[in-house]
């Protein structure tokens, strides 16, 4: 006997399975899938809002899921922290800056996909590649891309 599954629920399951947060959770089991999507959505909204200020530069962010009382992330802070070479800005779930980690990059050689992918060992890294693309790495794997040009993406 085959009981038909609801098409609406199947497409909902497919949609959940293809979320960035679920893809990250598949690589980093400690990443809380449900709460993680909120962080992804907040970060995406942040970059869509501030991409004119950040421009076509490459910036890296380590995402954590432990709340802190640190100060909030701002475009000005991102630019300031990266002025002497690329750094990894560690963020809490509220997009507050918890710590700054050096990526040992020269000032004129900003961290690229390889550097940030390596930096995501056992962690989750978001890579603002420029005005149009936000990429996520989890434990060395690309785990999602968000088109910052397309609000529906």
């Amino acid at each position: 006997m085959e009981i038909p599954q609801s098409g609406g629920h199947l497409s909902a399951a497919e949609a959940i399975f293809s979320t960035v947060s679920m893809k990250i959770h598949r690589r980093v089991s400690a990443w809380d899938f449900a709460r993680g999507q909120t962080i992804i959505d907040a970060l995406t909204a942040f970059f869509r809002r501030h991409r004119d200020e950040l421009g076509e530069h490459s910036f890296g962010f380590e995402l954590t899921q432990t709340a802190s009382t640190a100060s909030p992330l701002t475009p000005r802070r991102i630019v300031k922290e990266n002025r002497n070479g690329s750094v990894l800005i560690q963020l809490d779930p509220g997009l507050n800056v918890v710590a700054i980690k050096s990526l040992n990059c020269a000032k004129d050689d900003p961290a690229d996909e390889g550097v940030l992918s390596d930096a995501s060992a056992n962690s989750v890294v978001a890579h603002y590649e420029g005005r149009s693309l936000l990429r996520f790495y989890a434990n060395g794997f690309v785990s999602g891309r968000v088109n910052l040009d397309d609000p529906s993406a």
């Binding site: 006997m1 085959e2 009981i3 599954q5 609801s6 609406g8 629920h9 199947l10 497409s11 909902a12 399951a13 949609a15 959940i16 399975f17 979320t19 679920m22 959770h25 598949r26 690589r27 980093v28 089991s29 809380d32 899938f33 449900a34 999507q37 434990n139």
Partner: protein, 216 residues
């Protein structure tokens, strides 16, 4: 086969304990829905079924044994009933919470590993409901596929939460887990399974809302 009230006593105690963790008192229909979500997810959570007992009812899935159990537990002093009101002769309303004796009973029950596992599942369900708001428990249950299907067909037979084929949430999660486990760092955890079902129900409701607004 329905569960007798005594077998449901454990479920009621654990459900009210978890609701208490989130500072909630539950009315009788919220209690029914929380225990229903537990039954729906229990199959996936422990890969072992429990006897079917829930039927679709006017206000959601309803198992008379749950109501009998909470009444009996209140009589025995394990559960406190507050805000009691009588709408009709046979339709009393109340909000339920554990008494101190009830909380102690839960602690003793949880010394058993299987019951502690049930409590863990209910806590995971409680956390997801709390994240969305306890007032949303009705729409969450109404979007659950097993109940949703029975309701759409106006079926009044018992809800097949114990049937691997007919518990549609369990089937959905089984497929999702199989896909997840391929090429993942670790197999999907029981906690993620619960989160995934709630996320699917959110997505399903959002799709339905979009469909309704398009056709309106």
């Amino acid at each position: 086969m329905r569960r007798p009230a005594d077998q449901r006593s454990k479920d009621v105690l654990l459900a009210l304990s978890v609701a208490g963790d989130f500072r909630q008192t539950l009315n009788r229909l919220q209690l029914q829905k929380l225990v229903y979500l537990f039954d729906v997810l229990a199959l996936s959570w422990r890969h072992v079924g429990s006897p079917r007992g829930f039927r679709p009812w006017h206000n959601g899935p309803y198992d008379a044994a749950v109501q009998n159990a909470v009444d009996a537990l209140a009589f025995r002093g394990f559960v406190a009933a507050t805000d009691v009101a009588f709408r009709r002769t046979r339709n009393a309303e109340a909000r339920y919470s554990l008494t101190e004796a009830g909380a102690q009973a839960v602690d003793r029950l949880a010394e058993n590993a299987a019951i502690a596992n049930d409590l863990q599942l209910l806590r995971a369900i409680g956390a997801e409901i709390d994240h969305r708001g306890w007032k949303k428990i009705k729409e969450i249950v109404y979007s659950e596929p097993t109940y949703n299907r029975a309701r759409a067909k106006s079926e009044m037979s018992e809800l097949p939460v114990n049937n691997v084929l007919e518990n549609l949430s369990s089937r959905l999660l089984s497929d999702l887990k199989r896909a997840f486990d391929m090429d993942s760092a670790e197999p999907m955890s029981a906690g993620t399974l619960v989160q995934a079902l709630f996320a699917i129900l959110d997505q399903y409701r959002a799709q339905e809302d979009r469909t309704v607004s398009k056709t309106a």
